[in-house]
């Protein structure tokens, strides 16, 4: 019995480390990849694929200057944000249908961990007393209140299909459905989730991660007063978050090709599949970015409400299918 427990524990620890390693290493690469893909679509050459790592190492070598108005909260925020995001990464299934710690929590914890990170970011942005940071913070919170219900509802619809709020259970359920998966409910929910995911990542048409003009920045605007290592931590955390949402979307859109067991070659194919899926989702996101222009701040509401409505329709259809009512 003890032996079994030990093996279980060992396996868990191993999975945790693989997951953390994967997410930490992959996230700068995926961000650069998106930049590269976008550049290629727009006819530019784009940055080298290793640019993310170069950036990070640069940040960690720079001097750290902070505003003299700030309190210790400003200094601990990057670490709180980073640990919350990293904890979230243990909840998201990547190359294998189980997550390292299935007992940790589900979609609700995921959303609230992002919320925790956002709370500290928004608070830290108010610390230096700069007008630009404050504006970004306020806008970020406004976007968050629009995104959160959409994200939750679309995840809820998917969770209701699988009857569990734990992400591994949902993904597992999706992966065993085969061709029967593509019901109207599923398609609509995934579309709503895609919209919410793009908004949560802070990309066009909701926010532009590449802008460098203070008045238009939302997510990046909050880091204005950060520099050096602290900025590096903040940016790395937002890359990790981006990767998490991308993996979530990838696993919901293509719930196939997971490693079934822990043997090495199978794990390897799982990883390959995972990478391919994420790249495809990146391509979708980048395509959307290239085709659509950024919308005005207060028009964001309309898009997100539309997405909310899509989720509700998905919900209604799923229920009518269950009970044979409504006739949809």
């Amino acid at each position: 019995m003890v032996e079994v427990m030990n093996i279980f524990l060992l396996q868990t620890v191993l999975l945790v480390f693989i997951q953390l390693f994967l997410i930490l290493i992959l996230s700068p690469f995926i961000n650069t990849l998106m930049k590269k893909l976008k550049a290629l679509l727009q006819g530019r050459i784009g940055p080298p694929l290793m640019q993310g790592y170069y950036d990070l190492s640069k940040y960690f070598q720079k001097e750290t200057v902070v505003s003299n108005q700030t309190s210790p909260i400003f200094l601990i925020t990057p670490f709180v944000v980073f640990s919350a995001t990293l904890l979230a990464s243990l909840l998201v299934p990547t190359y294998i249908t189980i997550t390292p710690l299935f007992i940790l929590g589900g979609i609700i914890l995921l959303v609230y961990l992002f919320g925790l990170a956002r709370f500290f970011m928004a608070q830290a942005a108010m610390e230096p007393g700069s007008g630009f940071c404050g504006m970004a913070s306020s806008r970020e919170m406004m976007l968050a209140m629009l995104i959160e219900p959409v994200l939750l509802l679309s995840l809820f619809v998917l969770a209701l299909m699988a009857k569990s709020t734990n992400l591994p259970n949902i993904v597992n359920w999706l992966s065993i459905q085969g061709i029967h998966l593509f019901t109207p409910t599923y398609v609509l929910a995934v579309i709503a989730l895609l919209i919410a995911g793009i908004a949560e990542m802070g990309r066009v048409p909701f926010d532009n991660p590449e802008t460098h003009y203070e008045l238009t920045m939302i997510h990046e605007g909050m880091f204005l007063e950060y520099s050096g290592k602290l900025l590096g931590m903040m940016i790395w955390a937002s890359w990790i978050k981006q990767l998490l949402i991308l993996s979530l979307l990838a696993n919901f859109i293509f719930p196939y090709g997971y490693s079934a067991s822990a043997s090495l070659p199978i794990l390897f194919t799982g990883l390959l599949f995972y990478f391919a899926k994420v790249v495809i989702v990146c391509l979708i996101v980048v395509l959307v970015e290239t085709v659509i222009a950024k919308v005005r701040l207060f028009r964001v509401k309309d898009i997100l409400i539309a997405s909310f409505v899509i989720s509700i329709i998905a919900l209604v259809i799923s229920i009518s299918k269950d009970t044979g009512g409504l006739g949809l």
Binding site: S71, V80, G106, L116, F119, G134, M135, S138, S164
Partner: protein
């Protein structure tokens, strides 16, 4: 029966505390404050221990006071449900009393602290007795006592016209609620022939269904007024800020929870079985309350008013699982229903912890800066580091972020909303997930509201002269804030300490125990058939967060360039930064105002479309009736005289 003795002793101590507050006040104000508070703390501790014992033993205490023929036995019955609310009251009254030692000395030395002390003790005693009362007559009497004492606190700032007005609205609204309760009780009494709750319980099956629905609506209005259910909430944002801050903490933390007790007791005990639309009605009102409450809070710049609006929101969140629980109960899903009640009680507990913490922090800030306007504050984190940390804990807990207690109860609420797929009603199946999404919506607004509040009070530079000379508050005040802050974290990490108490309380409402394999307290594991599985391990979350935090913090210190951090002024386009450049609270909430344009209905909306029509109608009726009223005393007596004679004649016929 140890519990009984402890509880009786605590009652005596509260009375003794009240007397000592009054008498010692003649010698020295300070002595009066300290002595009465210490006695109160001992009394609260006794009732706390007793309530925990009752909850653990699942026992039921009965104190018979007197038997009066037409009213029925005047009894106090303490069952686990009542004990849970006693736990809530006494658990909060301890830190609030500790806080009040310093707070009263800082703020109220020129006032009559003796009377404040007496009222305080009676307030706590009346709240404890309200939840024990097992007789409608006694219940209403104590309910009224509780209201009147809090009314005195609301108008205690005798110079301010605003607080007088607030007091008037408070008194008016609570009495409208009381009238509905009274009416409901009288209908009950007519059918049962007695005012005792046990007779109500036995008569519940004999009531006609339509009458039961009417009774439920009366109860909803009566208790909803106390709970601040929108649109009956208009008194709450006026009255709670007007009271002294430690009383606001109690009013928001505990007093409005008695409405939850009332609904649990009356709906589940006396009106069951009931149709599911009752629960749906309650849930719809609750989610509307939660949403609108927090939207108003997000746009508010008065610190205490903002907290009061957030109390409205949280009452919505507490009543939502109650409504859903009623739906489950109506569909005979007893296990899920009791889970709902656990969620509701859990959030009540959590809300009392963090809301009283926040109100006490607000009191500290106001006592050193003398302003409630967030526009005029700022920069306090350097002057009051500990208070700001406590406020941060409260803000994180109320925004329901993971390592704190608020998250656990909201997680439970999400889970029960999610479980609605087990119910055969399409309306509920659509309503519940949408409710979940809206709960997320309120959560996000709540986070925004508290980022705004925290940052505008504590961060950056002071925006007026008032916060410049602020200083850290006295030890007792910090201790008073510290205890709930620690509990917020403790409950958030180790809910297994609380879960048995909650389960015992919910078993008293719905007589079923949750199967051990479907709900584990230690890890919050829910496994409710139909492949429904959800898990959460708060301890692990906390441990991992702390682990990651320390690991990366020290890694960062070691790797690369060393971290002697250079401090320099904030970049503001080359000009020396000033407080005027900051983003103000009004500016912060401006985008919210824009997106909630349709939802944001100012207070006057309720007056204009709900209250004024009623008032005008009443005035019209009284104008019609006026001719009968000559103003002549003798004529009125003649009316009575004639009526009496007619009665006699009628008797004879």
């Amino acid at each position: 029966m140890n519990e009984a003795i402890l509880l009786q002793f605590s009652f005596l101590l509260f009375i003794f505390g009240a007397i000592s507050a009054l008498t010692l006040n003649f010698f020295s104000k300070k002595l009066s404050i300290v002595c009465s508070s210490v006695i109160g703390i001992i009394g609260s501790s006794l009732s706390l221990i007793s309530s925990i014992l009752i909850l653990l033993h699942k026992s039921k205490l009965v104190f018979s006071l007197y038997f009066i023929k037409p009213i029925g036995p005047l009894e106090l019955i303490v069952d686990p449900l009542a004990a849970f609310f006693i736990l809530l009251i006494s658990m909060l009254s301890i830190p609030v009393l500790i806080y009040s030692i310093g707070y009263l000395q800082a703020e109220y030395m020129e006032k009559n602290v003796g009377v404040l002390g007496v009222l305080y003790h009676l307030f706590i005693l009346s709240m404890i007795l309200v939840v024990c009362a097992a007789n409608a007559f006694l219940f209403l009497f104590l309910w009224e006592l509780m209201t009147l004492i809090s009314f005195v606190f609301v108008i205690s700032d005798t110079k301010s016209i605003e607080s007088q007005k607030a007091g008037f609205i408070y008194l008016l609204m609570t009495h409208i609620g009381l009238a509905f309760l009274l009416f409901a009780f009288l209908i009950f009494a007519k059918y049962s022939g007695s005012f005792s709750f046990s007779s109500f319980q036995s008569v519940s099956h004999g009531l006609p269904n339509n009458l039961k629905s009417i009774l439920f609506i009366f109860m909803l209005i009566g208790f909803g007024t106390k709970a601040g259910l929108i649109p009956l909430h208009i008194w709450l944002p006026e009255a709670h800020p007007a009271a002294p801050s430690h009383i606001s903490a109690l009013m928001s933390g505990v007093m409005i929870k008695t409405a939850v007790y009332g609904l649990l007791r009356f709906v589940f005990d006396f009106l069951s079985p009931f149709p599911y639309w009752w629960g749906l009605t309650l849930a719809v009102f609750a989610i509307i309350t939660a949403m609108l409450g927090i939207i108003y809070a997000s746009l508010e710049n008065d610190l205490k008013r903002m907290l009061a609006f957030s109390s409205i929101e949280n009452m919505g969140i507490i009543l939502l699982p109650l409504g859903i629980g009623m739906i489950f109960f109506a569909f005979d899903q007893k296990e899920l229903a009791s889970l709902c009640i656990i969620a509701s009680l859990f959030h009540s507990l959590n809300h009392s912890l963090f809301k009283s913490l926040l109100f006490m922090c607000a009191g500290s800030v106001i006592s050193v800066t003398h302003t409630r306007n967030m526009e005029k504050l700022g920069g306090l984190i350097k002057l009051m580091p500990q208070t700001s940390m406590f406020f941060l804990v409260g803000a994180l807990a109320i925004s329901a972020f993971p390592p704190f207690n608020g998250f656990l109860s909201e997680w439970l609420i999400y889970q029960i909303l999610f479980s609605s797929f087990q119910i055969h009603s399409q309306a509920v199946k659509i309503f519940a997930p949408v409710c979940g999404a809206l709960l997320g919506f309120t959560g996000a607004i709540c986070a925004a509201t508290f980022v705004k509040a925290f940052s505008s009070i504590f961060s950056a530079m002071p925006r007026s002269h008032q916060p410049v000379h602020a200083h850290e508050v006295s030890l007792s005040m910090r201790l008073g804030m510290g205890i709930p802050a620690v509990f917020c974290l403790f409950v958030g990490i180790a809910p297994f300490a609380i879960m048995p108490l909650l389960q015992s309380a919910s078993e008293a409402v719905i007589h079923t125990n949750i199967k051990s394999n479907s709900f584990f307290a230690n890890n919050l594991l829910i496994n409710l058939g139909a492949n429904h599985f959800a898990a959460l391990s708060p301890g692990l979350i906390f441990a991992l967060l702390v682990f990651f935090f320390t690991m990366f913090y020290f890694l960062c210190k070691m790797v690369g360039n060393k971290m002697p951090i250079r401090k320099d002024e904030t970049w503001s386009c080359g000009v020396t930064p000033k407080a005027e450049f900051e983003h103000t609270p009004t500016g912060y909430s401006q985008p919210f105002g824009v997106i909630f344009r349709e939802l944001y209905t100012p207070e006057s909306f309720y007056y204009k479309y709900i209250y004024l029509p009623v008032v005008n109608g009443l005035i019209n009726i009284s104008h019609r009736v006026k001719p009968i009223q000559s103003g002549n005393l003798q004529l009125y007596l003649a009316y009575i005289f004639i009526t009496l004679i007619l009665c006699l004649v009628w008797l004879r016929l």
